[in-house]
Each structure stands twice: as C-alpha cells, then as structure tokens.
Symmetry: D4
C-alpha cells in the first residue's frame, strides 16, 4: 500500500492468470486492503479462486480483500449519478471511497432535466466534505451542484451517450468549463480515481 492507502490492481490490461497470481500473493498480506478494479468475469473468477471471501461488486467491476471496508473516518463523501446508466462508474467511486476509509453516500437519478430531484437532496449535499458527480451526455450536473454547495466537487464524466457525446468527451468538456467555481475533473469513467481523490480530500487531519 503506497503512502498509507490500499493497493489497487488494474485488471483491464492483464490476463486472468496474471490477476490470479497477484491475488495469490495478496493472500499473504491480510493487513493491507487490496482492490481489483476493472475486473471482468474472468478476472473476478481468478481473484475469487485465490481469495474466496473477497467482496465483489460486479456492476462496479470491483473486488476487495479483506472484504470488510475499514471503519469510516474523516468527512462525508457524497457520490451522485445523473442517470441510472452512470451507476456502474458511480458505484466504483463510492466503493473506492469506502475501502479507503471514508463514510460515503450514493444518490442516483438526479439529472438536471428534473431539477427537483437534485434540489430534494440539498440537505445531504450540504453535509458533504466533498461531492463526486458522475454524468454522461451533457455532463451538466456538476455545474449545478457546485452552485448549490461550498464543498469541492469532483466531476466524473461518463461515456454514457451517443453521437456527439463522443464517448464522454462532451461531458468532460462541460465539466472543465463549469461556470461555478469549485469543480475539478478526472478522466472519463475513472470512478476509481474519483473515489480515491475524494477519500484524500475528506481524509481526517491526523491521517495525512
């Protein structure tokens, strides 16, 4: 674990056999939390063969071992998903923040086309130490949220959409140009990165 955080194994570029070998090595170090991100079904089977009690969230393509996240410390991480299609990426952010030790809440289907939905979550949003806002298509939700709260907002563009959504580029550009201050952006579909960063921002003072 680099600098006090869990280790993450990025499965996408590895064979199931390679990931299985890493999982076998991980079994020797129960003191450290290890995350397996971007794990497809084969990767997951290989991890579970070596670490049968690993936690597995197939939608988020994430496994964790030991399976139990640490007791939460630090500020609250609120993760918002504009639509249900943004949920897998939002779950990856939410679970990453949890396994890095933060309390985290996940809220879905609060796109800007129905403002009352996001406005109904204001009380929760105002308790956040940091908000992660996942959105595809027009990517407009982080602009709206940053105008409502004084906590920092992490824009998490998703590849949801078609045509001129350009696989998340439209949402990415929207978020980089957010007209409210307090928004920064991670790579498209990078739920792991957004959750990790949120956990760093919301870290309790002594832990740094």
């Amino acid at each position: 674990a680099r600098r006090g955080f869990p280790e993450a194994v990025y499965c996408a570029g590895k064979t199931a056999a390679q990931v299985g070998a890493i999982a076998a090595a991980v079994a020797e170090r129960p003191d450290v939390t290890t995350l397996f991100s971007r794990a497809d079904d084969d990767h997951a089977a290989a991890v579970l063969a070596a670490l049968p009690d690993a936690a597995h969230d197939p939608a988020a393509r994430l496994l964790a071992w030991p399976p139990q996240p640490p007791a939460p410390t630090g500020g609250l991480v609120v993760v918002l998903a504009a639509g249900t299609s943004d949920l897998p990426v939002a779950r990856e952010a939410h679970l990453t923040a949890r396994y890095l030790g933060r309390p985290s809440e996940l809220v879905v289907d609060v796109g800007v086309a129905g403002l009352h939905r996001v406005l109904s979550k204001l009380e929760l949003l105002r308790r956040a130490r940091v908000a992660v806002v996942a959105a595809g298509m027009d990517g407009a939700l982080p602009s709206v949220v940053a105008g409502l709260v004084s906590a920092p907002v992490i824009g998490l563009p998703t590849s949801v959409g078609y045509g001129a959504a350009f696989g998340g580029v439209a949402a990415l550009l929207t978020m980089l140009n957010a007209c409210a201050p307090g928004v920064s952006v991670v790579n498209i579909d990078n739920g792991y990165g957004a959750g990790h960063l949120a956990a760093q921002i919301a870290a309790p003072e002594p832990s740094r």
Copy 2:
C-alpha cells in the same frame, strides 16, 4: 425578402463600400425590412450614410431599416443569456425575432451556477412559445430550461470562455447532448439564425 421574411445582409465578408452600395439600393424599398448583421463600425457608418434613420444596435452589431419593427404577432419568443458576456449574441437573436414580427423578451444573467435566478423567471418562461437560450463555457443552461418548460428550446452556444471551451465547441456539444428532450442547436454565436428560427416557430398560423 425571401418567403415573406426580411432580407438580411451579412456584412462580415464585405467591405464597407460594398455594404454602403447595398444600403443605397435598399433605400428604394421601404416596404421590406432589411437587416444588416455582423456590422462593425465601418459597416455601420456606411449603412447610416445611406439610411440615416436606420436603427443601430452596436452591441448586437445589427442595423435595421426601416427602423421600426413590425407590430408583434404570433407567440412569445423568450431569449435568455446565461451571463453578461453572452449578451451581444442574445441581443442579436432578440432583435432579429422582433424585426421578423414576434413579441420577444430578453433576460440576462441566469446561469446555472445560481439556479434561483432562472427559477425566478419560470412564470415568463412558461408563457414562451419558444425559448432561445444563449450560453458559453459549459453551455448547461438549455438542459435546465428544457427540463422546466414544454416549449421548444433553441440552444445558442457562444464563444465565451477560454482553454477547453474551444471557442464555443464545448457549449455546442453540451447542447447537442442535452439530457432533456426538446432542445435543438444552431451554430456558435449565430444569434441571427436563432432569432430567425424562433420567429418561424412562433409564427402566427395564417402567416405561414
């Protein structure tokens, strides 16, 4: 005037002398409204030399002759500008709609970073037959407006912004991907086109 609409002279690609010659010819036809769009100071001087009583809006870079817009008929055109920097383009749309014969209202500084401002205009917005929504930077306002009203929304991206705003491209993409139905888009900074289209949409039944 093509198909019952005023004639428009696009000045940007013409010398002041060429525009002056057109203005002189226009003086022979007071029965038709003529607009001079994208007129810089030199173009405007040349028009005013030939048509001294022409109406001139320097911010919108628009001149019109005869100067008086027709009595308004048809539905209401509401033009919104997200920020003050979007005002020149929004004014071009607003005045074009007026000179094409529609009633039109212009509202400024209703960006999504301060939702209460756009929400305070709901009553006006719901009276609109069509809304033109000008925004640069993140271009998020049309998505929000389309979620609030059932009238068609014309997204008018502006070149306001810097860096990854790419001269209006970010706003254009946002609007093309608006997550609420009912939004269509015109070219960046094309206030004339947005106002013209709005006038067509809001046209009184017999006039078509």
Copy 3:
C-alpha cells in the same frame, strides 16, 4: 409523463431484465403512453413479455404502449430521409411525433444528388408546420429544404457513411452551417429527440 408528454424509456444503457421490470410497472398505467426507444431484440422481447399488445417497430427500435397513437392534433410534421440507410432514424422521428399526437408524413430517398425527387415533394413540404430532415454523408439536404420552405427545419444528422463522414460528424457540421436560415440541429441519430421537438413545435395552441 413529464409536462404532458409520453414517458420514454431509453433502453440502450439497460439490461433486458431492467427494461422488463419497467414494462411490468408501465402495465399499471394505461392512461399514459410509454415509449421504449433504442430497444434491441432482447429489450423488445422483455417489453412484449410484459406488454404483449405493445406496438413494435424493429427498424426504428421503438416500442409503444398502449399501441395506438393518439388522434392527431396540431400542425403537420413532415419527416424526410435522404437515403434508405437513413430510414431507421427517420422512422424513429416519425413514430415519436405520431405517439406525441401529431399528424406526420414520412418521405424517403430524396437526396440532393437527385434534386427532382425533393422538388417533386414541394407541395407536401409547404403544408408542413415543421420538417425533420434526416441525412448522413454530406448532410446537405436540410440546407436545400430550408431554402424551399418557410417552416422551421430540424436537421437530423445520421451516422450513415464511412471514412471522413466520421460517424455523422460531417453531416452534423454541414447542418450547423446551413446557408439558409431556419435550420437547427439535434444529436447524430437522435430520431427520438427530433420527433419530440417537432411535436412540440407543431403543438396545437391550447396544448402548451
């Protein structure tokens, strides 16, 4: 149904099971028209299992329930497809307009390479309250149509083409730069959005 329009379920980002669950819930609300857009074969089977009498247009990837569109009111929506490859997207627009309650006509194979074909439809085009013009490749048809009629034109770029068509981007740019006023544009292949917008523009006065 938001703001008096049918509800639409965008199937592309959902599993067949999720769509089936929504369809089961929809069965409780026969008073509202529900559209299922971007439905592949599995999605369609799931909808039809829950709503056996739903209308299904496989080419348009659209299902509707109750199956019968409302009696048409408001102005005429004319949908043009430049070529037969543009037909699925054009049908999606046409059917959406119909299920939102408008009279609609669909005309195919009127590309600009054979001008006589579009000119032969002038009488129909001039009866339109709004025209939806679907085209891929060079996307030139909306420019030509807007020069022929005074109704608003919705440019609907399609991803038909190859190479420098860039999946519809070339057609999109063409339409954004249409040299005739009165054209606005929706996202590439967004037949649902074009049909929805057309229905809003052609809405009968009291319905807004």
Copy 4:
C-alpha cells in the same frame, strides 16, 4: 515551367524582397508564363517594380507575367462561387485555368439556399469539361452540381463562415462525403490548385 505548365511562385512564405528578386529573374524569360499567387500588397509592389506590365488581380491575390493569357485551347472550365465571400478564391481558380490556357467562365452567388439560381445556369454547366465549385459554410453546392452534370466536379472548400465552420473544415468534410459520384476535393482556399487541376483535366489531347 515544370512539365509544360506555367511556373508559380507562392508568395505567402516569402519576404517582398525575396519575391522581388524572383520577379527580376523572371524578366529574363518572357517565353514562359509565371504566376505569383497569394501576393499581398507588398509582394505585388515588388513584382510590379520588376515587371511593370504584369497583370494583377488584387482580389485573387494573383499576378501574371507576361500579362496576356494564352489563347484558350481544350475544354471549358466553369468556376462557380456559392456566395460573394467565396469570390476571391473562385477568381484565383478561374484566372489560373485561364493562364494555363483553358477557356473559363466564372459564375457567382449560386448557393443551394436559392436553388433556382444554380438551376438557371444548367445550360452553361452542361457545356463544361470540368466544374470547379467553391463554397464555404455548409459546402453543399458541389453535391448538388455533381447531381446535375456528368462532368467531373472539383470541390473547392473556402474558409468562409464562423463557429463550427472551423475555417473551412465543415465544407471540406461535406465535399469529401458528397452523395453524388464525380466529386473530388482540394485543400481549403486552394484556388490555385483547383484551377491548375481543372486545366489538366480539360487539356486538349495533344497537349499532354
């Protein structure tokens, strides 16, 4: 003169002094036609100092010496400009074809927004051995022309337009995707290249 064609000096990347020195050398070779393209006022003055009787078309930014084009041979080159803003580039193509020895006709303001204008030129177009079609903004004119004639069409995109015209890229893409066969394309604003190619296509048989 390479391969029997006039020599061309591309001034844009050269100082006036460099161009003047070339012009002085050219004065020794009255047997060959030399063109100076993309010549600004300073370039032109330098050429005229060395070759006082050179022909100079400031709009086309072209000079030629000896000033008299050769007697026309070969097929007819017809050059069309969609709008008046496309005229400088179209003139450059027209004059280049003339100085390479072809008969050439130039027609202006025949954009697709007013189809009757291009249709009124059908007789001329059908006499062409090759057509050069200059257009900016939507760049739709070559598609229409290629559908009307059986001669080859050279699409000449111009940088006329703003916003999503991207300095001629939109027109370039339109032309590359022309839905009628028989269209090829040269670089944006490359009137010289279009005229040169047209002269090669329309060359009389023995001249090759």
Copy 5:
C-alpha cells in the same frame, strides 16, 4: 443509370434481403450495367441468387451485371496501390473504371519507401489520361506521382495503418496538402468514387 453511367447499389447499409430484391429487379434491365459495391458475403450470395452470371470480385467487394465490362473507350486510367494492403480499395477503383468503359491498368506495391519501384513505372504513368493513387499510412505516394506526370492525379486515401494513422485521416491530410499541383482527393477507402471520377475525366469527347 443516371446521366449515362452505370447504376451503383451501395450494399453496406442494406440487408441481404433488400439487396436481393434490387438484384431481382435489375435482372429486367440487361441493357444497363449495374454495380453492387461494398458487398459482404451475404450480399454477394443474394445478388448471385438473382443474377447467377454476375461478375464478383470478393477482394474489391464488388459485383457487376451484365458481367462483361463494355469495350474500352477514352483515355487510359492507371491505378496505383502503394502496398498490398491497399489492394482491395485499388481494385474497386480499377474495376469501376473498367465497368464505366475505360481502359485501366492496376499496379501494386510501389510505395515511396522504395522509389525505384514507382520510377520503374514511369513509362506507363506517362501514358495515363488520369492516375488514381491509393495509399494508407503516410499517404505520400500521390505527391511523388504528381511530380512525375502531367496528368491529373486522384488521391485515394486508405484506412491502412494504425495509431496516428487514424483510420486514413493521416493519409487524407497528406494528400490534401500535396506539394505538387494536380492532386485532388476523395473520401477514405472510396475506391468506387475514385474509379467513377477517373472514368469521367478520361471520358472520350463525344460521350459527355
């Protein structure tokens, strides 16, 4: 057949059943040559079911009926392929020119990395009325060929390459910027278009 040329059916956007129906109709018109382009195995089977003696070139994905090309008239079309991977597209151009009635020669593997190979074809190239030059990757061959011959050159960029070849965009841009005059360009992989245009350029005088 439009304007005296064969009719072409673009199969890529059609089902095998649709193509088969067209082929059945074509059987009624043996007086006209019909081409089926971009035909995959299923399309080809459908055509051959209706027109068993159709000519079929699987590499070029082209079928023709009646199978015999017309006796060649007009000037020589020379088609060059830079590498063997460019051959399918080059064959499509070559066969199209043949079925439009021109004499045509096809030369392969003459890329600029081995200049002696293209230089060894100079005699043939100088007999060409027009050259079609297919190349992917750096797309440099048309520049070299245009410097060697006075005939017009049609650049035919192919999608051969990887990484920053961007599916043929690099080759397309190279050709648009060819430093020798006399080059124009068609869409990426558009062998049909290049062959059609070449046949128009090389057409015998009376046939136009």
Copy 6:
C-alpha cells in the same frame, strides 16, 4: 459573496467602463473581499480609479479589494510552477487561495526535466493539505508530484508551448491520464479556479 467566499469579477468579457462601474459599487462593501480576475491594463486602471488602494498583481492580472488578504486559516496550499512561463497562472492560483483565506506557498521552476529540483521541495510538499501543480508543454509534473505525496493534487494545465502543445490541450490530456491516483484537473490557464478549489479543499473544518 456567494456561500462565504469572496466575489470575483471576470474582466475578460467586459469593457473597462463596465468594470469601473462594478468597482464603484464594490466600494460600498468593504466587508467583503472582491477579486477582479483577467484584468488587462485598462481594466486595472478602471478598478484603481474607483478603489485606489486595491492590491494589483499585473503578472497574475488580478486585483483585490480590500487589499489585505484575511489572516490565514485552514491547511497549507502549495502551488508549483513547472517553469517560469507558467508563473502568471500559478500566481493567480496562489493569490486566489490567499484571498480566500488560506496559507499558501509558491514554488517555481521545478519541471520534471530536472528531478532534483522537485525532490528538493519534498519537505514543503509533504506539509501541504493540497497541491496545485501548474505545467504546460508535456504537463508531466502533476503525475510526478502525486507519486510523492498523499495530499490531493490539482493539475493546472497552462497554454505554454507551441505546435502539438495545442494551446494547453497536450498538458490537459497528460494530467487527465496521470498514472498516479489523486490528481484532478481544471481548465487550461484557470489559475483562479485552481486556487478557489484548493481553498475549498484546505478549508478549516468549521468554515464549511
């Protein structure tokens, strides 16, 4: 002041007269800090005419009134500039953080081409609650810094560079793809946004 933060006036889109009028109104509210960002010489003169004792940093194009930043509270903001050309943008971030009430240190000329320079600042970096890292050209510094510290890193791409730097796009992409977790990104040259966000991240607990 929105949500407890200073008000900022973005001068770039305004005339000097407009900015002067705002400055005059600001003079009535000495209880709130107001920042004037992206102020050129004329803007600055207009502000100083109304608020003669305003603080002015010409390099950062920033003015502040009242001139004295608040006593620092919360965690340390460390701002790094890869090279001296990145200094104006880095100063804008540094001063913004100071006027929002944070302690802030600015370090220059620590680019990755001389790793010893950034390594010599490790002690300071490890005291940071958040780091802002400004870099143009290859934009590689945030990746390196994020690998060295556990604080969150705000990547601030600058438009420094030429050619394939694309006005900061290369640096922006590098930062979005940082291979160390804990990096998020703001718009190109957006020093104000980076400093504002840093102040939010480093805010003392009760102040939120």
Copy 7:
C-alpha cells in the same frame, strides 16, 4: 533485406495463407533474418508450418527466422516499459533491436508514479547508447528519462489507457512536448519502428 537490415513482413494486413506463402519463400534464404511482425495466432501457425524452428514471441506478436539473433555489435539499447500493460510493445522493440544485431536490455514497471523505481535503474540507463521508453496513459516517462541521461530517447507511446487517453494520443502528445531535449517519437504502439530506429542509432561505425 533492404540496406543491410533484416526484412520485415507486416502481417496485420494479410491473410494467414498469404503470410504462409511468404514464409515458404523465406525458407529459401537462411542467410537473411526475416521478422514477421503483428502476427496473430493464425499468422503464427502459418509461419511455423513453413519454418518450424522459427522463434516466436506471442506477447510481442513477433516471429523471426533463422531463430538465433546475430551476435550483438554496436551500442547498448535500453528499452523501458512504464507499466506491465506496455510490455508487449516494449518487447517488440527489444526483440527487433536484438534481431537487428544490437545488445539490448528490457526493464519493466518504472512508471513516474514511483520515481524510486526509475532512479534505481540510473546506472543501466547511463550505459545506454539509446533508450526506448514505452508508456501509455500520461506518457510522462520519456520526459523524466531524458532529463537523467545524455543518450537520445525514443518515445514509444502505447494505446494503454481509456477515456481521454484516446488510444495513445495523449501519450503521443506528451512525448512530442517533452520538456527535456533529446526526445523523438514514433507512432503509437510501433514497437517495431522504435526497435529498428534504436538499432540504427546504436549501429557500430563500420556497419553504416
């Protein structure tokens, strides 16, 4: 073998049968080393059928025959791979350099997120006549390496990454903008090209 180097057969654009035929011809020329690059399983099987003792590195998708690389001469080629996902491309470069006759060392997992790893390889790096540095995502490693050594650095961008990595474009741009002098770049994933170039740079004096 052109100019004294092995011949390379680029398999990606060929059928297994075509590659097999080439391999059969190669069997006649054991005096020359032949490489088969970008060989998938089918290509490899075809080569091995004709050349059963060919060396095959499936990860690098490379085969060589005769299987034994020449005795190394010239300077040392050091190949670095930032992460394990960059290994296939790095191996292609490493093996190519070996088969062209250079001594070569391959080092993996030295990304800039863990500087100590690359710093621990300084002694090896300083012995290099040339370094090939393969990296995806942020592509930052060549900048760091070029700052540490005086040998030339070949940046080898890989398509590793997602979202705004754009298939290697982000890494490519980073490397083109490397802030340390001494870096040049090859195409994305072009391990063959990088290894070939490295062998040319490190060639022993007499061999050129």
Copy 8:
C-alpha cells in the same frame, strides 16, 4: 550546461528585460556555450546589449555566445529543408547541431514534387550519421529519405501550409506514419530539439 551540452534559453515566454538579465549573467561564464532560441528582435537587442559579440541568425531566431561554435567532432548531421519556407526551422536545427559540436550540412529546396533534386543529394545523404528532414504541407520528404539511406532520420514537421495543413499537424501525422522504418519525429517547428537530438545521435563515442 546540463550534462555536457550547451545551455539554451527559450526566449518566447520571456520579456526582453528578463532575457537581458540572463544574458548579463551569461557573460560571467565564457567557458560554456549558451544559446538563445526563439528570440525576436527585442530579445536579440537585449542579448546583444549584454553580449555584443554574440552570433545572431535572425532567420533562425537564434543567438549564441561565445560566438564561435566548437571544432566539429562526431558524425555528420545533414539537415534538409523541403522548401524555402522551411528554411528558418531548418537553420535552427543546423546551427544547434553546430553549436553542440557536430559537423553539419544544410540542403534546401529538395521537396518530393521534384524527386531529381533529392536524388542529386544522395552522395551527401549517404555520408550522414543522422539526417534531419524539415517539411511542411504534406510532410512527405522524410518517408522518401528514409527509403534511400540507412542512417536514422529525424522528421521535423513545420507549420508551413494553410487550410488542412492545420499548422503542421498534417506533416506531423505523415511523418509519424512514415512507411519506411528509421523515422522518428519531434514537435512542429522544433528546430532546436531536432538539432539537439541529432547532435546526441552523432556524438563521438567518448563524449557520452
């Protein structure tokens, strides 16, 4: 001087006063060669005020002090410029190589449109230890040169061209896709980088 090479001061991002101050400091260190690159007239005047005997090449925008380049050692660097417009960038490469201590030859106007010109330089090219090939527009020259020689080729794309040259991007892509092995590429107009790298490649053995 980092790692035994001259120090370079990149003037483009600095004021004349800043550059003058650096030049004054440089005067204390006559033992090291210092280059001032991208120096405009004001920068040059400031350098010459402090270092009156500095060598100044205005076309290359380069100054050097002490003015005398070192006695040449190592292999020959041959710099080719495709056209005269590429000369400033080519000179910058040539002079940089000279001031880093290599023998260097500069050859101009050898573009691929006139192959005989580059072929006439074969003897010189074959003596090169490394070739720098500067070209704009189609950027095809490095492909041709790499096919003729076995030395490594550094592609130096220039911003010469217009329209779809995209400020050197077309040439950059061409060179990245060079179909002959042995080509790598530096940033657009980066003559300094190309010359520096060439000097490293051609360095005499002991100097590394």
